[in-house]
Subunit: 482 residues, 2 copies
């Protein structure tokens, strides 16, 4: 869990009676730091830039104090590399710990190189284990060795154990800090333990896991249920069945389960069944957003270059897709080359050709996007795939008929040529059908072969609809027009 969950201190609520009122100056800064939309206020950013440029340490500290760690992380994205370094110098290890886990990965990598190993080791000690691992895996090899060496034995071992799990699995996502109680305890014993043994516990938690003598979880108790049960109630009586997460489970799978069963936290178990950690919903919110962003970007044929990538980083994330598009499109237009004579005779074909391929491309993208979404939310699977494919094809035929009618009439009205109108109509019907077929089958087939359907489907579908668009129009024209 992110340590920031402890600091939900965006002061929308201002007059907090019973607390020491902050300095009026600070209130003003907090008020102006964020705009109405909770994004950083450009004027506030300008003030930070100004203070950093002037090297005004006191002013900088004052400005930073007005921000939630998540907002400081955001702020970094608006600063130049030099100003970032200046800001970094004015953060204590605890603030640094909070901010590091919020930072954009690109900026974090840059900042990590600037930090002395001992300071970083201290900041890592302040984090929950999942956040610390997240940072350590970003370090260069030699820096990692130095930082780990500077950490206390226990923390180092915890991080090294987590790093042994594969990326994007439950093992990486979990925090090792977890609250458990033996199954023979009662509510009173459990509550008393919280007052005496709070050193080893996570700062925030929501469920207690009841374990058997071999440390396997046998049930879970939400804190709000524990609080309401009489002290002498045995835990075994109020515990509820658990959804256990195997340590090697893929994070996308974990997110699916959290979302489906509305979990707030879940125990993570080793292959033998022993409790080794927990995953909390606030980490899952991040995963859900990552995964859906990955889908959006993949469908558009662009890799994530990161918010602060330079021009070259962005070019590298896009040019390969454009080159691939160039290759497939070149193959598709080779069809046109074959029918050059037809075009030379009826030049209107050159005008109408892009309409057929564009409509096909759009219809294919529609079918494809809906299919990718349905696959990732598991609404589309082997139990209903056949029904959904057939439904798509019927939709493709119907849309094709409707568009063919509209466009056929338009072509007739403009060119007064009924054979050209028929050619156009039939080509649209053919291409919309191919678009539906490719749009629904490409992602299903890719998924079945273990590929990410969002990544390569677009290329396949666009190729199919462009190729077919040209072939249908020019082929039908050769048959009935010439």
């Amino acid at each position: 869990m992110s340590r920031d969950a402890e600091h939900p201190d965006l002061d929308v609520a201002l007059p907090t009676e019973g607390q020491v009122a902050p300095h009026p100056q600070t209130i003003d800064l907090e008020d102006m730091a964020l705009g109405d939309d909770y994004a950083l206020n450009p004027d506030f950013v300008a003030m930070v830039v100004d203070a950093a440029d002037r090297g005004d340490a006191e002013r900088l500290r004052e400005l930073l104090a007005a921000l939630h760690p998540a907002d400081v992380a955001d702020l970094m994205g608006f600063l130049s590399a030099g100003d970032r370094e200046e800001v970094l110098a004015h953060l204590d290890p605890e603030a640094l710990a909070d901010i590091l886990s919020e930072l954009d990965p690109e900026i974090r990598e840059e900042l990590l190189e600037l930090l002395p190993p001992e300071i970083l080791a201290k900041a890592l000690g302040e984090m929950e284990s999942d956040d610390a691992v997240d940072v350590v895996e970003d370090l260069e090899d030699d820096m990692r060795v130095q930082v780990l060496a500077a950490m206390p034995e226990g923390e180092r071992t915890a991080i090294e154990t987590s790093l042994a799990y594969e990326e994007e699995t439950a093992g990486r996502l979990m925090q090792r800090e977890v609250v458990w109680a033996p199954q023979f305890w009662n509510v009173g014993q459990t509550i008393d333990r919280f007052l005496t043994d709070s050193e080893d516990m996570p700062e925030l938690f929501f469920d207690i896991y009841v374990v058997d003598p071999s440390h396997k979880p046998v049930g879970g108790i939400p804190l709000s249920h524990l609080l309401r049960a009489p002290r002498e109630t045995p835990l075994a009586q109020i515990m509820e069945p658990l959804t256990e997460i195997p340590v090697e489970m893929d994070q996308e799978e974990v997110a699916y389960i959290f979302n489906k069963y509305h979990l707030i936290s879940a125990p993570v178990i080793e292959p033998g069944g022993r409790l080794v950690g927990q995953i909390t919903v606030d980490d899952i919110v991040g995963v859900i957003q990552e995964e859906s962003e990955a889908d959006i970007l993949a469908l558009a044929g662009v890799s994530d270059a990161g918010r602060d990538a330079g021009v070259f980083g962005i070019v590298r994330s896009r040019l390969p897709w454009l080159i691939l598009n160039l290759v497939t499109e070149t193959v598709a237009v080779s069809v046109i080359g074959v029918f050059q004579d037809a075009i030379a005779k009826v030049i209107a074909l050159a005008v109408l050709m892009p309409i057929v391929s564009s409509l096909g491309g759009n219809a294919g993208t529609q079918a494809l996007t809906v299919a990718v979404r349905a696959l990732s939310s598991r609404e589309l699977n082997s139990a209903n795939a056949r029904r959904i494919v057939i439904r798509e094809l019927v939709v493709g035929l119907f849309n094709g008929l409707a568009l063919a009618l509209v466009m056929g009439l338009a072509v007739y009205a403009f060119y007064h040529d009924d054979r050209l109108a028929w050619t156009m109509g039939l080509a649209i019907i053919a291409n919309l059908f191919v678009a539906s077929l490719a749009g629904i089958l490409a992602p299903i087939v890719l998924e079945r072969f273990g590929r990410d359907p969002a990544v390569s489907s677009s290329v396949l579908v666009t190729f199919a609809t462009d190729f077919m668009g040209f072939l249908a129009l020019l082929g039908i024209a050769s048959l009935i027009l010439l």
Copy 2:
């Protein structure tokens, strides 16, 4: 909060010592109900269909008992209308309550029409207020009146009050059940209250809100902190600043705040500042997924027809976008008509034309998608817009140069015509620049005018790149080739 959070009972953990072991037959069913990927097992669905078709009530109840409510809701999606009705008849009000809030909206509407008002009123009484409101707003007017009339006074008023808030605002999202304590209480008093006064409280909660005498929240205490504080500690001493959510805030805004500050729950306040409810993170997970799905679908030019929409529903969700595409594409190709003579002279232009527009379309979609994503995560705003627009244009120029070089050489190799190669190269550079410009500016401008950038940007960008693709190639050809 969804009532299902109480039932995290997907039995991955089987032998729960200390609990009564379920009947062996049931274990087998639970084991086989879900596949390895936690989706429903097609064989299990077939068993349900079979039992429903035979009207075998006992078998049906046995099968349904093996499923989590979320899985029963999923199951409904795989059944015919007749089988759904059969399954519905075998659910008691409590199970019904759990399942209704999980169902796909299309199916829910259909099932709600089949339920007698008294049964539905009873099921609504079992739900938390936010889930109940969600169902009631789906009811036909006359059914709504009947159902509300059949509910106890208090529950009816709660639902009617919530319905008064606008859709997709915090007011609709919140549950009215909330745990609060006066600011002069101490920890002991607060904990004791949970044992005596648990009737009015939500089943599950994570934070206690401390309120002043006018019922305005002044601080929050996570349960895990409350449990660890000595009994005599005043609440005011351990409470933390809160992020308050105004009741009229848009749900997308709420999701942004939850995600940014890693909140688990947050108090909802009326315009005067009084505490009126709370929003919990599990409701937000749903909102985040809804919003990102909406973005994905909007970018592909398709409305969400729902998983179980019929052919006509799907056609209605797609055909309008295709017709719009037809219109814009027809305008774009009118450029080709103007240059018919050029094509008639150099037929290779008809072959190369689609490559220029396709490359532009792809590059535009890339820039657009990245911009839409950055806008919705607020990484792109007025503080850095200028820098990002300039960066996009440089990227567009660079990609244009690279692709122009590749394609210019290819054209020369194939056609042995250096002027045609220059024409192609220059057209690609021009169109890639326009693609970058349109791709980054369209979403920014739309957002500034208060429109959803995901919805109409694609149409604008595709139009711009197609139009420019044709114009650049044919126009340059007329100048230097003819």
